[in-house]
């Protein structure tokens, strides 16, 4: 178990945990977990038992992109998944 990092540290870190991403994005934990499981939010994991780490700027950009597609184009998560996986 590692110590909780201060917000200033998280805001400048290259990689963040899911809990830290909740703090930075304001998106609920279960939603981030669901996006991750659906392959919408790429993560980095050294080993299967290790903590998943998200590239801070990349993850925040992806969340903003999802939010935009939801609000501006009125897409459902399923449709967003199809679109983003197609683009990737």
């Amino acid at each position: 178990m590692s110590r909780r990092r201060k917000l200033e540290v998280i805001q400048n870190a290259e990689y963040v945990t899911i809990g830290e991403l909740v703090q930075l994005s304001g998106v609920r934990y279960s939603t981030l977990k669901f996006y991750t499981e659906e392959g919408l939010l790429p993560f980095y994991q050294m080993d299967q038992k290790m903590v998943r780490r998200y590239h801070r700027t990349g993850a925040l950009q992806r969340l903003a992109q999802i939010q935009k597609l939801k609000q501006e184009q009125g897409l459902t998560i399923k449709e967003i998944k199809e679109k983003l996986l197609e683009d990737d």
């Binding site: 998106v27 279960s30 996006y35 499981e37 392959g39 609000q71 998560i77």
Partner: protein
Amino acid sequence: MNKQFTVPEELVFLGLDEKMHRFKLDYRSYKELYSVGAVFIELLLRKVISINEEGKVYLTQVDPTGISYLDQVIEVLSDSSKEKSLKKWISSFYYSKGSIRKNVHRSILESLCEQGVVTHKEDTFLFMFPTHKYEAVKDEQARIIERIRAELLEEGSVDEQTVALSFLLKETKMLKEYFSNYERDQLKKRLKELKDNESLQWVKWIEKAIAEINASVVAVGAAAATT
């Protein structure tokens, strides 16, 4: 690769209690009838059936879907010469089509077992009476709940299947099994907002269909209690 379940599969799957390895208490008594109801909802979403202005269910296509439990209900509908409301259809599966009702429910469970998310164990009670235990893969159950949270507790568009499942969980009193009091209130509020949204007519007909299914289950339950 994430699994894609149908509405009846998701309902039956979430109806399994992870500790007891049986069906959850509130849902247990009418699980088969709700399974049939969920099949009707799936057929509505797939546009295999439709409900006309008089509230009667009619088949829009008779081709088999290849999914056993859906095809069993399609067969019943195509063999019928009478048009019935959804409520009457659900009652008929209770009063006169008991074996089909059981088969439909069993087929859904078998499908979940085949997909590797439920395991079935046969046991005996008091060394004599056969019992069935079903164990659900917790992570897969959690993924469905996370989907509901991600869609209904966040801003944005919602998927037909998630809305239908949420209404079914509400009617089967299973929301309390997976969501906190606060989340439940938020979910119910969101479902009401969606239902009241004039531009989302499909939510209204899903809600109406599920309310009819529930009214039928309540009616057969009350009739069974008084006889």
